[in-house]
């Protein structure tokens, strides 16, 4: 596609100008690191992604994995890339040195993941799922389970999955039916069916470690009765090597719109009554454990959506600079040369929107990643607590905003390419198909909106919201340039409406208008999201203005002016679209909730 997966300057701007990532090295945990080691790690990620992941992105999509009834087969390139990722040591990158890790900050790991997700999201899913599953085992499983399963997962000998969804229970996990019965040997026998399990079967590794949600009979009803189990595809022998099959059977592969290189599976557990599962932590705590992984996964989903959006943006930008078509006034004579389409106003609009969505979403996710670092390593207990509360508030936004606007960016990339964009000869349609998963998985965007409106905003008496306001005020107070100050004034008029709006919603949530107000949750996410994103863009504009007040090259000048112009675009074009949502929410509009099923 484009020459670089993510522009070096963009990564440097986000990491070292918008965020002061280098200051993390003052913290004990990261004391061995400096900008140079961060750079070397990012280089390895960029190189691996460019050389081993990107080249087979289209091939993994067109030659998707197949199942002959016995084994899953897929193109060889996936295994080459997967093995190289593991050999480079990325799986344990966040972990302690004595666990074989690198103690890298989340901010840097996020930037690394950007290269892989931009290069080839479907191959990247295999190591990423493994890292997520390993994290849950590391955080909650017994010492014995950790010692058994973590080392081969961290070295890439085993992969991991999360097996939550069942054919009849997706978002509504309270209703899962998979059961786990205590056996005489102290382990459990798992029985049930799981669906859409990514990476649920393949031949990349000698074993697959499923993290399965199941109910222990006799436990509490609903989510309080869900437990978490480690269920390997092969049970291990005394030396820890995969031995006997564990009665986990692949019922079939699912055929998806995008992300085709990642197997999506229907799995049957315990058809012959011999599927062994090992309880993680305490009984009935499974959902809580799984949510730890889900929250991290949500940041990952948001960032993935942002960088796939970015890939489409960069590709369509390059295309628009090269493709000439039509003429611009006053030079409209047929003898005048045709102009590159990037010069047409409407194409500029589509490129600006893509830039605003994708670079903005990346910046938001980097802010989220930095909060993860602060939760674990900020100097004072108070700072760590604040970071946790702010991250908790923003998690639904970090998941839902990029995953709503990332596919919108890809949609516009297709439009910029015109007829070419609609063909499989050009890569932007695959970006769109891959990205279309992101509003759906790890909690649909509908659920994120409900979570934000009915829970996150209010928890701890609005502590998260107060922290966000403080952060925004502190950032805005640094604005010295005329442009950013003007933008801040425009955003202010919308922010001022938030407080009375929250009053209205708060009351309505406890009244008979509950159903009406929650039917407008998407509008609430939109209002909140656009205000947050305006702040994220103004943050970038402020940094750009600061840089421009010093000495810059022509090329740097163009980069920073581009940031300021995009902030302007966002506040002038995108933010005012929330007027409709504000109106709907203030009126507690019931157009959707009043609609009766029979009337459709």
């Amino acid at each position: 596609m484009s020459d670089e997966l993510i522009k070096q300057q963009e990564i440097d701007f986000q990491l070292y100008e918008v965020l002061d990532t280098e200051s993390l090295c003052d913290r004990e945990r990261f004391a061995d690191h400096n900008k140079e080691t961060f750079g070397a790690v990012l280089d390895t990620a960029n190189k691996l992604a460019s050389e081993l992941f990107a080249p087979h992105n289209a091939k993994a999509d067109s030659d998707e994995p197949s199942f002959d009834g016995e084994k899953v087969s897929m193109i060889d390139d996936v295994k080459v890339a997967f093995d190289a990722y593991n050999e480079a040591g990325f799986v344990a990158g966040r972990y302690d040195y004595d666990e074989g890790g690198m103690q890298l900050p989340e901010t840097i790991m996020t930037a690394c993941s950007g290269y892989f997700l931009a290069a080839n999201p479907s191959t990247t899913a295999y190591p990423f799922l493994t890292m997520g599953a390993a994290n849950v085992i590391r955080s909650f499983a017994s010492q014995e389970l950790k010692e058994t399963f973590l080392p081969p997962m961290l070295s890439g000998e085993f992969t991991g999955t999360m097996a939550l969804t069942e054919p009849h229970a997706g978002s509504g996990l309270a209703d899962i039916r998979t059961s786990a019965t205590l056996a005489e040997d102290g382990t459990y026998r798992i029985k049930g069916s799981k669906l859409y399990i990514s990476g649920g079967d393949h031949e990349l590794t000698s074993n697959i470690v499923h993290l399965v949600l199941a109910k222990i009979p006799g436990g509490p009803a609903g989510v309080g009765g869900i437990s978490l189990f480690v269920v390997p595809k092969y049970r291990l022998d005394d030396s820890g090597k995969p031995a006997e099959r564990n009665d986990v059977v692949l019922a079939g592969l699912i055929h998806k719109l995008g992300y085709r290189g990642t197997t999506s599976t229907a799995l049957t557990f315990g058809e012959n009554g011999d599927c062994h599962g090992y309880l993680v932590g305490e009984p009935h705590q499974g959902l809580r454990y799984m949510f730890k992984m889900m929250n991290e996964a949500r940041l990952g989903v948001g960032f993935g959506a942002a960088v796939i959006g970015y890939r489409g943006y960069r590709y369509s930008l390059d295309y628009a600079k090269e493709r000439t078509q039509g003429r611009l006034p006053p030079k409209t004579n047929p003898t005048d040369p045709t102009v590159p389409i990037v010069e047409h106003g409407d194409v500029k609009r589509m490129l600006l929107a893509q830039k605003a969505y994708s670079e903005g979403a990346m910046s938001l996710c980097f802010f989220g990643a930095r909060l993860v670092d602060d939760v674990h390593t900020a100097k004072t207990e108070e700072e760590r607590k604040s970071a946790f509360e702010l991250l908790d508030l923003l998690t639904p936004v970090v998941k839902a905003w990029p995953s709503e606007y990332g596919p919108k960016a890809n949609d516009l990339a297709i439009q910029v390419l015109g007829g070419s964009g609609y063909t499989r000869e050009y890569p932007v349609e695959q970006c769109w198909r891959d990205n279309r998963l992101n509003p759906i998985h790890e909690g649909t965007n509908g659920i994120q909106a409900l979570d934000l409106m009915t829970r996150k905003i209010w928890q701890k008496n609005g502590a998260g919201l107060a922290l966000l306001q403080k952060q925004i005020m502190s950032d805005f107070s640094q604005a010295k340039g005329a442009e950013s100050q003007k933008l801040i004034a425009s955003v202010g008029s919308y922010v001022a409406q938030l407080e009375p709006l929250l009053g209205t919603i708060g009351k309505a949530l406890q009244s008979e208008q509950l159903l009406a107000v929650i039917s407008n949750a998407h509008s609430f996410m939109n209002v909140f999201g656009q205000i947050v994103m305006s702040w994220i863009w103004i943050r970038q504009a402020i940094k750009a203005e600061q840089a421009l007040s010093g000495e810059v090259t022509e090329q740097e000048k163009a980069f920073y002016l581009g940031k300021i112009q995009t902030a302007k675009y966002f506040v002038n074009w995108e933010l005012p679209a929330i007027k409709r949502d504000l109106e709907l929410l203030t009126q507690l509009d019931s157009s959707c909730s009043d609609m009766q099923t029979e009337w459709f």
Binding site: E4, E36, D43, A88, G89, M102, T553, E556
Partner: protein, 249 residues
Amino acid sequence: MKVLVPVKRAIDYNVKVRVKPDNSGVDLANTKMSINPFCEIAVEEAVRLKEKGVATEIVVVSVGDKSCQEQIRTALALGADRGIQIDTDLSLDSLQIAKLLKQVVDKEEPQLVILGKQSIDSDNNQTGQMLAALTVMPQGTFASEVVVDGDKVNVTREIDGGLQTVALNLPAVVTTDLRLNEPRYASLPNIMKAKRKPLEVMPAADFGVDLTSKVSVIKVEPPAQREGGAKVADVAELVEKLKTEAKVI
């Protein structure tokens, strides 16, 4: 056996090169820089020799300002043992680089010097040959295979007619071609190890080499835009165009 590997910091091969508006050179501001790919192959070859037990120490050297320490660290992360930065802000030509390297060879006395055959920025293909001449060492250029055999090294060279194998007495200079090997990736643990490996900085001014450039760049231009082709109606028109437009017949 000690192996010396000179490496160069060059624009990353994935980056689209932009010419400065005043045509004075390539715009490198905020551009991704990497170890020159041929130099990376040289480092990889040295590391493989060490893994085979042939080489005992790998010394990496680069000439440039502080920023080239990044590429020295990369080489150290790939498996080199220590680094030398010959510190200068000047932009040097192949001959001056070769003269500086000669002094490093005199001091370090390596049995083998492995260099990239050329750098992807200036494409000169000179430094290795010049260094061999200055140090009076035999040279095996464009290597696609390097086998050390006692006090000799057999170098298979990629030449126009195919492959040529030369046997050189050690110490010798080898320059690498693209097919010699596929360099490994710097793994995260090795990046951390590289941080602790020694890196010595030596001011170029202390080498007693005349560093004034003998070559001046007149103008740098991007390649001409490729123009679209046209269909011809028949052979007659083709011949006509070849005569009058292309002027090749």
